[in-house]
Amino acid sequence: MRKLFDFHGGIHPPENKHQSLSEPIRPAGIPRELVLPLSQHTGAAAAPVVRPGEQVLKGQLLAAASSLVSAPVHAPTSGTVSAIEERPVPHPSGLSAPCIVLECDGEDRWVELPAPPADYRELEIPALLERIRDAGIAGMGGAGFPTAVKLTSGTHHHIDTLIINGPECEPYITADDSLMRERAADILEGVAVLRHILRPREVLIGLEDNKPEAIEALRHAIGDQPVEVVVFPTKYPSGGEKQLIEILTGRQVPSGGLPADIGIVCQNVGTAVAVRDAVVHGRPLISRITTVTGEAVARPGNFEVLLGTPMHYLLEQAGWDPTRSGRLVMGGPMMGFTVPHPEAPVIKTSNCLLVPTEKELPSPPPAQACIRCGLCAEACPASLLPQQLFWFARGKESEKLEQHNLFDCIECGACAWVCPSHIPLVQYYRAAKADIIQQRRDHEKAEHSRLRFEARQARLEREEAEREAKRAARKQAAEKRAQAAAAEGGEDPIQAAIARAQAKKAAQQQAPEASPEEKAAAARQAAQAKLAKMQKRLADARAAGEEDKIVTALEASVKKLEEKLASLEEPTA
């Protein structure tokens, strides 16, 4: 028996998982329209490679990864790209973001996929990582970090332990549970790929003890593979990456560091299946398992959903009664966020849609005063002092907040769950974190400006000093020359120069004023010269194939100069 460890704190909220486990995974079907946000992951948004009106096939690349930390987007079914525009997306901000809108044709025709290798073990590791990256896989547990990036950083470290995250500790959510029950073999196939890439000393699949069916299915699928299922007591948030690592290994990820720093890589069970699809079958990530639950749906359960499916479509598949639900939560009741628009799509990180009735999850009552009872500190899995953080957050004491390690808060919500005064603690911490990050940015900016100002000041002083030195040197030289001239009995050259200048000035003043005609002619000449120069620049730009913007700007200037020239010629013509 493996030695298990415990993490500090944690809570036991009602699980409410049975509601969505009565039926096997159901296909959600193909809606009329799919909305695919360009950013469904942590990192830079993908860049579209299709244009509105284009016909696309299932699995075809729609948007490519735009930087190292990014993930491409593929067409979940065949159809026509009807628009690339801003649409409401599932994001805590409730804002809209650029999306590719796909009008589905219902034929669900696959694009010709690159042939999967006969045996992926014969591929080089970078080629395997490339496949995973090209499949658009991002962590399916909820955070959505691009999987290839995580694995690449893993290959740079010596990886001791590969942990497959399967506790699914949040109440209500059963997407991973049903996946483990029904597709344990697929998970193990994905785990084998991950093992091949990372070559860990051991592989552990961590589960809470409330999933006996999943445990049985996994153990059966493992057979004699060197993978161990580790079962531990149910406690929220055991599925948090840091907490799971502590439970299984007794080690803690250093603050601000990555699990890879201590030789560990963690991957969600859903991600393992996506990796298997990408590497073994060459299929990109175009669907996922999503739990639909809450008392406002008649038939809660798990659905295999095409990415981009509007949430209201999916909810309707489960018999949604919109009049009964006060809120729509993406994710679980502890860490999920409310989505104000039910037309927002299901994305790579949508593990659950929760539509509770008001009775089921009542609106928060008004907060009372904090009595510093300390229940929050007992519940905090990061061993923080939430009551102190709350106090400092109210007082906007950034220094104290950082000293009390605000940024180690994982926003699991355990503190707010136990709070007898119903204080929305997590909300305070989020706001405080955002404030501090903004302050840091402002500070950096101010620092940058200060450095620039000081550099300029130093440069001006230096130049002034150089000029001063030159003046002094000239003066000295002139004196020397004057002395030399005086010694030779000749004319002082400086005095002579001054006299010449004065004579020239006097001559100019006596010269007659230029006539208006002459002036106009001079102006015309100047304008013509300018125009010729600008025309040449325009021709050069066109020849060099410069950007449209620059060419248009040059064209505009040429036109302006032509107009000016015309206006100058008019009165004399």
Binding site: P333, I371, A382, S383
Partner: protein
């Protein structure tokens, strides 16, 4: 369609401040019952009258501060303050004494600092100390326990003592703690034999009251209203101090550890007073230090001070130290080395 937008978490545990306070009130019942059995209805009348005054003061303060009455009165915190003060005051105290104590507690110690959650000092103990310093005579007159007096006052006597103090002749007797402090030259065993106040382990009545408060406290621990750290540290350090200065029961002895654990307000203090979260230290280690400090202070004041009991002063001094203790007992956060403190 209008959907609610709220921040996570969306689920909430069943706990509430009101529930916490009500359980504290409930847990005090055994102690109050024992006090009533041994000393008559005085304590009960104290508590009820204190509760009336506390609710009135709380309402006044809330009204002056323009806060909704129902919402804030509902937290029951004023009732807890009234309860603790009512128990701590000598039975058969006059109504005005109780009223002054409660008003000091609620108006001065609590609302002047911003109300529940913002008070640096335990309100009930502030009320107690104000009275102890201002009215030492009334505050040191304890009734004799059943067994040492023929007529333990009934409810009517108690009401008369409270509201018509002129018409009631209270019988008073030195408490066991007083007897011990005033001991001059007797060995512990001789003192025990000579003074009638002593019972099996400590004072008659007192030992049972303390055991009853201990029972209530253990129930609160079981209900996870507070953690064991502060009470256990307090009781342990008090017992340790008593053991250090027991001196084999000589005439210079400060009394046995058991005597101290079951005398005066020890158990009431351990489970109902120092566990007031608002004014105590916050972290686990902080509460250990906080409790231990109170234990030491209680013994020092009992042994060498001039007051009938020491819990109130010890708690207030420890309240003063709480922010300082917090500063040095910040727990180690996940993924951190022990906190590197820049001294603020």
């Amino acid at each position: 369609m209008k959907l609610l937008r709220v921040s996570s978490p969306h689920a909430h545990g069943p706990n509430s401040t009101q529930r916490v306070m009500q359980q504290v009130l409930l847990a005090s019942l055994p102690g109050v019952f024992v006090l009533t059995v041994f000393f008559g209805f005085g304590t009960l009348v104290n508590i009820l009258w204190a509760a009336v005054v506390a609710l009135a003061c709380e309402s006044l303060a809330l009204w002056l501060r323009k806060r909704p009455l129902g919402f804030y009165l509902g937290d029951c915190s004023a009732l807890v303050t009234a309860l603790l003060l009512g128990i701590a005051l000598p039975p058969y105290a006059p109504w005005w004494l109780i009223a002054i104590g409660v008003a000091s507690a609620i108006l001065m110690a609590k609302h002047l600092y911003g109300g529940l959650g913002y008070n640096p000092f335990n309100p009930a103990m502030v009320g107690y100390v104000v009275l102890l310093i201002s009215f030492p005579v009334q505050m040191t007159s304890w009734a004799p326990p059943r067994g040492l007096t023929e007529n333990v006052p009934g409810l009517l006597d108690a009401l008369r003592a409270c509201f018509l103090p002129g018409q009631f002749d209270a019988i008073t007797m030195a408490t066991p703690l007083d007897v011990l402090r005033q001991n001059s030259g007797l060995m512990m065993d001789d003192l025990w034999a000579q003074a009638p106040q002593f019972g099996r382990w400590a004072g008659i009545g007192w030992e049972w009251a303390n055991l009853a408060f201990l029972a209530g406290g253990l129930w609160l621990l079981y209900r996870r209203i507070f953690t064991w750290h502060a009470p256990v540290a307090f009781l342990a350090s008090l017992a340790l101090m008593a053991a250090l200065f027991y001196d084999g029961g000589s005439s210079a002895s400060g009394g046995s550890p058991l005597f101290h654990l079951l005398s005066g307000a020890t158990m009431l203090g351990a489970f109902f007073i120092i566990t007031d979260p608002v004014s105590s230290a916050v972290s686990v280690r902080g509460r250990l230090v906080f409790g231990a400090l109170i234990g030491i202070l209680v013994y020092l004041i009992r042994a060498w001070g001039n007051y009938p009991d020491a819990v109130a002063f010890a708690v207030l001094i420890a309240n003063l130290c709480a922010p300082f203790i917090d500063h040095y007992t910040q727990p180690r956060t996940y993924g951190h080395r022990p906190p590197a403190r820049e001294d603020a």
